[in-house]
């Protein structure tokens, strides 16, 4: 009897989602250029592989450029190409401690998890969320069971290999109470110059005392539009660190993730590291909702912009409790007179007059004095500029494991070398 009712609740919930999505299919997002999704086809299915060695070299290489080493030693791996999960694996040592699979598969396997679907991101937020609900093309589901601490990173990689397609993934990440994990995700187009759209809905649930460092590297092409829709909910003393790295040009990206710091002492930090080139239109930010005693947050962005690139660096801090503290920081460096960086900080306090919110922003050209200093040491002008860029983008990333930090530094180093 109870089960029947549960099924009914689930059915109704899912039907309601679909109805809301249908109504929102033409709803424009408030930020970012509008994309006519009807210009794109849904991406095609791909065959599964059982062994990592069967994955085509071209895909492995694309993954690598987005920071994912498919053959590396990882706790777990998820690889999706176009609309199919082609490879999933959990290292033997972690079997029974964590799960990784496509989100559609997870929903079938564990129907009771349906409440996590669109639990944080409204399905009718805009046409992109609506599309992701109505035309889903997988996405990953990751669950780390209570009190499991996984130091070796987990990795997920989403690739697109066809032209003029839209990939609309829905990712769910659950860290149960006391669980700890490091997740690396890489998203890339295999053929750099094709057009396409990537919609990525991601919902993160961190239980009490859970810790997640999340690192995302994007590597799209100049004709690619990207619309991540991300939200996270943090329990008591949970810690969430999100680092986003975008160093290659694309047509447009717009994302404004939200973190609900619900539990006492929850902490969230966002780092955006962006090198905007070509005609890239980049609108990135994060919103931290600090709801409980002792919640802390920071949102830091480092943006370099050159060519005709346009960047909006947003940050929004909202305090609902007196004993919270959060800081926004945006530093921008301009390399071209036609490039633009707009910093948009917002601090809001709701009935919590003693909350401490602050922000700091600086946008300007690179320091000519420093360039000349380095040239006097025998560096060429280009070498000096790339060294300064590298230094500028190198963030002190709190709570990031040493290996991850080195890995991000390496991506920045390599990119800075040929930026100018």
């Amino acid at each position: 009897m109870c089960e029947v009712r549960a099924m009914k609740v689930q059915e109704e919930y899912l039907r309601d989602l679909r109805e809301r999505a249908e109504k929102a299919l033409t709803k424009k997002a408030p930020l970012g250029p509008d994309i006519d999704l009807s210009q794109f086809y849904l991406c095609s299915p791909r065959e599964r592989v059982e062994d990592v060695r069967e994955i085509e070299d071209q895909l492995k290489e694309a993954a690598l450029y987005a920071g994912v080493e498919l053959e590396g030693e990882k706790a777990a791996t998820y690889l999706q190409v176009d609309r199919s999960a082609v490879y999933e694996r959990v290292q033997r040592a972690f079997q029974g401690k964590l799960e990784i699979m496509s989100s559609q598969e997870a929903l079938q396997k564990y129907p009771e998890l349906f409440e996590y679907w669109w639990g944080l991101v409204p399905v009718d937020a805009d046409k992109y969320t609506a599309f992701a609900e109505l035309c889903p093309t997988e996405g990953y589901f990751i669950r780390v069971f209570a009190h499991t601490k996984v130091e070796i990173p987990l990795q997920a990689c989403l690739l697109m290999s066809e032209r003029a397609r839209v990939q609309s993934v829905h990712n769910i990440v659950i860290l149960e109470e006391g669980a700890e994990a490091n997740l690396i995700t890489g998203c890339a187009s295999v053929r750099g110059n094709e057009s396409g759209v990537h919609i990525g809905v991601s919902e993160f649930y961190l239980g009490d005392n859970a810790r997640l460092t999340f690192t995302m590297v994007h590597n799209w092409g100049e004709a690619f539009h990207v619309r991540p829709r991300t939200a996270a909910r943090l329990g008591k003393n949970a810690f969430f660190s999100s680092t986003y790295v975008l160093l290659k040009p694309l047509a447009s990206i717009q994302a404004f993730p939200q973190v609900f710091l619900e539990g006492e002492g929850a902490q969230a930090t966002f780092q955006n590291i962006v090198f905007a080139k070509g005609n890239s239109y980049i609108d990135l930010g994060s919103t931290l909702l600090l709801k409980n005693r002792g919640c802390r947050g920071s949102s830091i962005s480092r943006v370099c912009a050159t060519d005709e690139a346009q960047v909006f660096a947003r940050g929004r801090l909202i305090a609902y409790h007196d004993e919270v503290q959060a800081h926004l920081e945006c530093k921008g460096m301009l390399f071209s007179p036609r490039a633009q960086i707009v910093s948009v900080p917002e601090l809001e306090v709701h009935g919590a007059p003693r909350a401490r919110l602050s922000h700091e922003a600086a946008v300007g050209p690179f320091e000519e004095e420093a360039v000349n200093y380095l040239r006097a040491r025998g560096l060429k002008r280009e070498e000096a500029l790339s060294l300064l860029t590298q230094g500028f983008l190198n963030l002190d990333l709190p709570g990031l494991p040493e290996a991850l930090r080195r890995y991000i530094e390496e991506i920045i180093r390599v990119t800075s070398r040929d930026v100018l």
């Binding site: 004095e369 560096l379 060294l387 300064l388 190198n394």
Partner: protein, 243 residues
């Protein structure tokens, strides 16, 4: 090694050096004296070729070649190097990273830590260049980089000012090393050092001293004699002196 003829240098619209003549032979180390604001740093910057220091007259020759119109990195590659008085902060780049790059330019990979230890910079290697360095640390970090660079012609801007008594010996030793020959047959190194105190003369045999005032070199001679005279009579006398 270095020959300067009627050099005029402007910063912005202000003429700072108005006809400097100077010659430094291979193997010689000279010191440059002069009151605050005389233009000593300006002269070094102009020899280095730093943008912003506009050469509006005269010429600079290095090893017989006219370098007046060469840019800073070309001069650095020819073997001119400088320890700066004011150092910018290079955010996100450690002294180690920069040191490695400087060494790479000479085709070397090791010797970084060993060199650092000689100027007491080991503990600074993993700090960001210039960030929060104290006065003395700044000086040592500059000398450290210069030692890695090993220029044929080194210019050092006030190596001893702000340096504690213990470190002065270190700095003196580093300077001596800077002007040592690698091998008997290689070229002798030379340099130009700005000093207000003359302390470094205790560590280094300077061949000649020059007093810079009012945009010109007004007096040249044995550095110890010059110091003795200035201590006694002040710079004002230098301007009048007919030596």
């Amino acid at each position: 090694m270095l020959y300067i003829e009627q050099l005029k240098v402007a910063v912005g619209d202000t003429l700072i050096l108005d006809g400097v003549n100077l010659e430094i032979q291979e193997g010689e180390v000279h010191v440059l004296l002069g009151p605050n604001g005389a233009g000593k740093t300006t002269l070094l910057m102009a020899i280095m070729g730093m943008p912003g220091y506009r050469i509006v007259g005269g010429r600079i020759f290095f090893q017989g070649k006219d370098i007046t119109n060469l840019d800073v990195e070309e001069r650095a590659r020819m073997g001119i190097g400088m320890a700066f008085q004011k150092v910018p902060t290079i955010s996100g780049i450690t002294l180690r990273t920069l040191g490695r790059l400087v060494l790479e330019k000479r085709g070397l990979t090791d010797a970084l830590e060993e060199t650092a230890s000689r100027v007491n910079c080991l503990y600074l290697l993993d700090r960001e260049v210039g960030k929060g360095f104290s006065g003395g640390e700044m000086k040592r970090a500059e000398l450290f980089q210069l030692l890695l660079q090993r220029p044929l012609f080194s210019m050092v801007d006030e190596p001893e000012s702000g340096v504690d008594l213990d470190s002065i010996a270190l700095v003196g030793q580093a300077l001596r090393e800077l002007f040592e020959r690698d091998q008997v047959r290689t070229k002798k190194r030379s340099g130009l050092i700005i000093t207000h105190t003359g302390y470094i003369l205790e560590y280094l045999n300077a061949d000649r001293g020059h007093v810079l005032m009012n945009g010109r070199i007004v007096c040249s001679g044995n550095p110890r004699d010059l110091f003795a005279d200035i201590r006694e009579r002040g710079y004002q006398e230098c301007a009048r002196c007919e030596r």
